[in-house]
Symmetry: C2
Subunit: 342 residues, 2 copies
């Protein structure tokens, strides 16, 4: 095994983080990540803090999102590059959900001492790949010893004040739409946990959240928006953010939920309704859109590079979700769904 690694990688990289030491790791990080992706980064990582030229006339949008091994992921599910891209894109999704465009990110990594330096290099490669692909500056980081692996990503973005979209504001009569298709991440989780088909593929795109901020302007042109959030906890739970403390209900047409083909495949193996999996499943990082009104006859809209599906409507009520299948009221008795309701 050692010989094979020696061929694949320089031998000196087959050492642990503990052996390479904090300084060794920081110099690898600085070499890899101390780049100015945009002209706005005045001081990159390597100093006490990063200095960034924030665009004037815009508002700063900021969020943070933590993932812990065992709670949110296992490294053998995602791979190190996959972990990096998932952590950054999941956090960036919250910026998009406010109507903003991500500009850059910080990353804190808690890492056991026995992790191999070359695995951490792959993680750093994953960060750089995402940064370059999306034009995001790397604005700092911290690597600390921890008995358990965790990743915490902070993202800053910008939005004109008039473009900010809150979670709340939906009115009775408004239609509900979603971007893309739902269920993929949940199906991948079920596959890895329950179906015993071996480990999930490393760098499988089903683990990579979509980058919806690029399509935001096209969505605004297609639909007059009243409110928005991202589907991080799953449609079943995220609808609650829109309804919370408001005299409104949501009616969701299960038949109209756009289900990912991979989710259909997993649902079929489990003998489950694919739409229910897509409704319950979390971590899709698609957008849940509240149209100001209900002005379209069709249930699908094509925007640049992305389809929008009309999945339901807001009615007067008391913060509840009503599920319909072919116009008939249904209840989902899935234990997971019940858990979410409590």
């Amino acid at each position: 095994m050692a010989a094979r690694i020696a061929v694949m990688e320089p031998a000196e990289r087959n050492i642990t983080l503990k052996e390479i030491g904090e300084r060794g790791w920081l110099s690898i990080l600085e070499n890899k990540l101390g780049k100015k992706i945009s002209g706005n980064l005045l001081v990159p990582i390597g100093d006490d803090a990063a200095v960034f030229h924030f665009p004037q006339e815009k508002k700063l949008v900021i969020t943070t999102d933590a993932m812990v091994e065992g709670t949110h992921f296992y490294r053998h599910w995602l791979g190190w590059r996959g972990l990096a891209s998932r952590a950054v894109l999941a956090a960036a999704s919250d910026i998009t959900a406010m109507g903003g465009i991500p500009l850059g990110f910080t990353i804190s990594l808690g890492v056991p001492g026995d992790v191999l330096a070359r695995d951490l290099e792959r993680f750093a490669d994953g960060l750089l790949e995402i940064a370059e692909q999306y034009g995001l500056d790397i604005l700092g980081g911290d690597t600390v010893g921890s008995p358990h692996l965790f990743v915490d990503v902070g993202v800053i973005g910008c939005a004109a004040e008039s473009r900010i979209l809150r979670q709340q504001g939906a009115c009775a009569g408004d239609a509900l739409w979603v971007t893309g298709t739902l269920g993929r991440s949940h199906a991948a989780l079920i596959k890895a946990q329950l179906l015993d088909e071996g480990k999930a593929d490393l760098d499988d795109p089903c683990w990579r959240p979509p980058d919806r901020w690029g399509g935001l302007e096209a969505i605004r042109c297609a639909l007059p928006l009243r409110a928005m959030t991202d589907l991080s906890d799953g449609l079943a739970r995220d609808l609650g953010k829109i309804l919370r403390n408001k005299p409104i209900d949501a009616r969701i047409e299960l038949d109209h939920i756009p289900v990912d083909p991979f989710t259909r495949e997993v649902a079929s193996k489990l003998g489950r309704d694919p739409a229910e999996l897509a409704y319950i499943g979390g971590e899709d990082y698609e957008l849940l859109l509240v149209e100001a009104g209900d002005s379209f006859q069709q249930t699908e809209l094509k925007t640049e590079g992305m389809a929008l599906h009309r999945i339901g409507k807001i009615h007067p009520g008391a913060g509840k979700v009503h599920l319909l299948r072919e116009g008939e009221s249904v209840r989902i008795t899935d234990p997971l769904f019940e858990h979410f309701r409590t």
Copy 2:
């Protein structure tokens, strides 16, 4: 014990995070922390992301700093309020070290399920106390289940471009100064770990990093500054940031290092030189200042609310530190110091 707690706290708070659930905890957090400290916070926590009015004409300074229980602290050393204040002020120190003023912070908390909700409330109280005391907006957070307790704080601040001070830039002939006194945090660590005098006091001010950004303008008036960093890893290591890859050495006069009285007390119990402890010890979060030149006869300057001490000078060299005691060259053979040198 339960009865006593019931008297001290509402009985319903004597439950674990696991029992209260993520939603329960989030509503406590939003009630406590969803405040606008400054008029610049347009959307506080509780939505997908926070929205902040960043001051025009200023540059954005950003950093992140993670602390893990067992690696950086134990909760019984700091207490929950102390943990909150230490985490935020330690991260804010990096903003000061760039010449910036902190404006707000995000906080990610990884927390075992058996932590009591009322302890987390104390943590939230600690965050709010620091936010209100220093006028810092709370810009978001994430609470996730984790087998080990960790805290990751992101801080944003601002600085005029002309006011930014890098770590590097020191020239031969420049004098080196420090703010405040050194050693206190290291002495507290030794006391808690080695001297077996019981647990460190909860909320002991020795664990609370100083807030040096308030004195930054006074320092600039007193000293022409060429470079700056904060003393997070200890003077012994942090000097390396100033010297790294430059043809300069530092000569440090151990007698001139301002040693905290508590550190003198601990050093005396250990039979150690207090100045050596102060030189080696980390986490003081004081500032290490490089004067542009060497224009003062005295070794102490009083600025508004703070003393500055001249501890040494930059000479031509190769990135090394030379220690002097009463003008004679000395070496510190402390095992901890040797570890830092590798």
